[in-house]
Symmetry: C2
Subunit: 133 residues, 2 copies
DNA sequence: TCTAATGATACCATTATTGTATCATTTGTA
DNA sequence: TACAAATGATACAATAATGGTATCATTAGA
């Protein structure tokens, strides 16, 4: 199981990369070269981050991206919500039909509570925390 | 995201069903009729549970299944491990290549620690706990 | 001996995720 | 001013995991 999707994973890496180059303009080519992430896919990641206000972009020659906010303000939970939707450990709508979980309610309650723990932990992690080494 | 796969989910339901019919022989047909689970698929679930020692089976006419142990001994984490492998929030081998996570180690550490919390919680839940109502 | 059950297993369908390709637009610079 | 290098937008394809079906062999009760 993967808590983070590729988009989220690549987002974290790319953002970390930029956090270490504050003031510079970073292109998808730079990231591709240095981090070896598949470029077309990761470009989509970056575009989403731009739309969501995490990145400022400059088009054209010598264009690229820069962080739009300090690393302290970028939280793991925020990135996950963008790329993976609300964190849930039991997706309960199954093609518009009601979940198969309602019948096993005590189990559902357990899982929901674990979910809350997880979200709490994830909320505590910022990009800045991941930069410390 | 789903913490539980269908197999695990169906296993819990079927086991709960049998826990409420101790002494009776329960067939896959009974479960299908009463719980509306897709029979061929759920039959596989039951067969695995039998192989793993959770169920005793009787073949032939009037055959079926019975719990092989008391509900207190059946733990959610055990079922998950059978049907989903070891609980991990960051599957790190990607087609035999080393994970893409190692490069973002602090993140990996965070996730591993959340994983431990989750496993701990899951270990605490038994079938008997889910029967209480 | 027929029927209803499990055991084993092969196969198919669906979905989500991951990844590629392409074209339009923008902008610095030779 | 034209070219090159970048992002924006978007359509399409590949892959893998999961979920599900079908079938045949075997067993056992009535």
């Amino acid at each position: 199981m993967n808590l983070l999707s590729r988009h989220t994973d690549y987002a974290v890496r790319a953002l970390l990369y930029m956090a270490n180059r504050v003031g510079e303009r970073v292109s998808s080519m730079d990231i591709h070269r240095d981090l070896k992430l598949p470029r077309p896919f990761m470009r989509k990641t970056l575009q989403v981050l731009q739309k969501e206000g995490y990145l400022v972009s400059v088009k054209g020659h010598k264009g690229g991206f820069m962080l739009a906010m300090p690393p302290q303000k970028i939280r793991l939970i925020g990135l996950m919500r963008i790329f993976q939707g609300d964190i849930s450990l039991s997706d309960c709508l199954f093609r518009k039909k009601l979940c198969r979980c309602v019948a096993v309610c005590p189990l559902r309650r357990e899982i929901k509570s674990m979910e809350a723990v997880l979200v709490d932990r994830l909320s505590g992690v910022s990009l800045a925390d991941l930069m410390v080494r």
